[in-house]
């Protein structure tokens, strides 16, 4: 069980690392499509880093289908909170 803050922290760090942007520029409203202006394989790196940040392994890991419809960072956090639970 994670806290919402831990999940937010993991997602922001993963997005910043994967998309090569400064964490300071990201908010929960940041849109993957409109603000990060990049597509394709970056989402793979983002998922890998999220798994790493949360220490998830094997069957517990975040999968592409979990986040494929996420438009913003908040959507991603909501999906992960729903999947893993949060205090």
């Amino acid at each position: 069980m994670f806290t919402v803050k831990e999940i937010e922290r993991a997602v922001v760090d993963a997005v910043a690392g994967a998309y090569g942007v400064d964490e300071e520029t990201l908010t929960m409203q940041t849109s993957y499509q409109d603000d990060l202006e990049t597509k394709s394989l970056k989402v793979v790196a983002m998922i890998m880093m999220t798994n790493e940040n949360l220490g998830l392994e094997d069957d517990d890991e975040v999968e592409f289908e979990d986040v494929m419809n996420c438009q913003t960072l908040q959507d991603t956090v909501d999906v992960l909170v729903a999947k893993y639970g949060a205090e």
Partner: protein
């Protein structure tokens, strides 16, 4: 003011997407840099790296499938939209390394039988010697259908498990397996085109050199963004782009040929095609080479093509404006990418329609 590297020399920073063709800008940052950095990080236990690589490949396949550009949904027995089945076979050993380990080779075989032998496209997957998965290449099915061809694609060892020349030996073993089974597969062995992208392109040209040594000259070799050089002494070697550049190539090739060989030019064109002399290029199969304007290997590719021209090898060289390494296929679905694949398609068609060999 130009950026400088740690030694005060100017570098050519092309991270900004304004270097890209407008249709490629959204894809400018896409690449396999994360894969290479992770796989080459020796502080991570190798089993963990292997596991992470498998995960990356799965995520990439899932992502492409979600975009509807992946008609191949598996790797062992894949229904290819009624056209045929991607079947996995086993092969091992090539003339240079008869005791080579057994590995997989895939063949996309049409369901419909044909009395006439079909041509074959021998496709070598790219992905920095790491990211191999047939499902990542929807063109395989498209071209199999369009050319009524058999697609054969070998799996080869990643750099986690082996180093040069194992990967080339395994591609050679796959080619030999195809020739030995041509009758059963319904392949015309005289109508085979080599095709590859990125490191797959490097291996395709390297295989053309290897096959020439054994008196085999395929109908052609069509490649995009081949890595042809490990000596970072060219103007394009100064290009800095986080998604893929000469720094990333250096890291990858350190693991491919080892520090004792890297950047010295001692090993020949079967490792790095641009190590070839003009004489070594003589008798090569027709080459159709595509490279991006901002690709780190742009100038070595042009250099290599120059040697091919001097050696009278039929050769076409296309430098794509506004493209960098791998952007033209990472941007599938854009008009620019479609145009790129149409040109590749035309090159393959020419090789299969006409005998361009000299």
């Amino acid at each position: 003011m130009p950026l400088e590297d740690g030694y005060g020399r100017a570098v050519d920073d092309r991270n900004d997407a304004t270097w890209a063709h407008p249709e490629l800008r959204d894809f400018w940052a896409a690449g396999n840099a994360d894969v290479v950095h992770m796989c080459c990080d020796e502080s991570i236990p190798i089993e963990k790296r292997r596991k992470r690589l498998e995960k990356m490949i799965k995520l990439s396949s899932d992502m492409l499938a979600s975009q509807g550009v992946n008609p191949l949904e598996g790797k062992d027995t894949t229904d290819a939209d009624g056209f045929g089945t991607l079947q996995a076979f086993r092969c091992h050993g090539c003339p240079d390394e008869p005791e080579g380990a057994e590995h997989e080779v895939y063949a996309l075989i049409p369901e419909k039988k044909s009395r006439r032998k079909r041509p074959a496209i021998f496709f070598i997957m790219g992905g920095c010697f790491f990211m191999q998965e047939p499902a990542l290449y929807p063109e395989l099915l498209r071209w199999a259908k369009q050319f009524n061809a058999i697609i054969v694609t070998p799996r080869y060892s990643t750099l986690l498990d082996a180093h040069y020349p194992t990967q080339l030996d395994e591609c050679h073993a796959g080619y030999q397996w195809m020739l030995e089974n041509a009758e059963e597969l319904g392949i015309d062995p005289d109508r085979v085109v080599l095709f590859g992208l990125s490191t797959g392109a490097q291996l395709a040209i390297a295989l053309a050199f290897r096959l020439k040594r054994y008196g085999i000259v395929p109908r052609g070799c069509v490649v995009a963004d081949p890595m042809v050089e490990d000596r970072g002494t060219y103007e394009s070697s100064k290009i800095v782009r986080d998604a893929a550049d000469a720094r990333l190539s250096h890291l990858m090739f350190y693991n491919y040929v080892g520090p004792e060989n890297l950047g010295l030019g001692y090993i020949g064109p079967e490792a790095f095609p641009n190590h070839a002399t003009v004489e070594e290029c003589e008798g090569l199969c027709p080459l159709f080479i595509h490279v991006g304007e901002s690709d780190q290997d742009r100038d070595p590719v042009i250099d290599f093509a120059g040697k091919c021209y001097a050696a009278k090898v039929p050769c076409s060289t296309h430098v794509w404006f506004g493209a960098a390494h791998a952007t033209l296929w990472n941007s599938r679905g854009t008009a620019m990418s479609e145009r790129f694949f149409e040109v590749l398609h035309g090159d393959i068609r020419d090789c299969l329609t006409y005998d361009l060999r000299r």
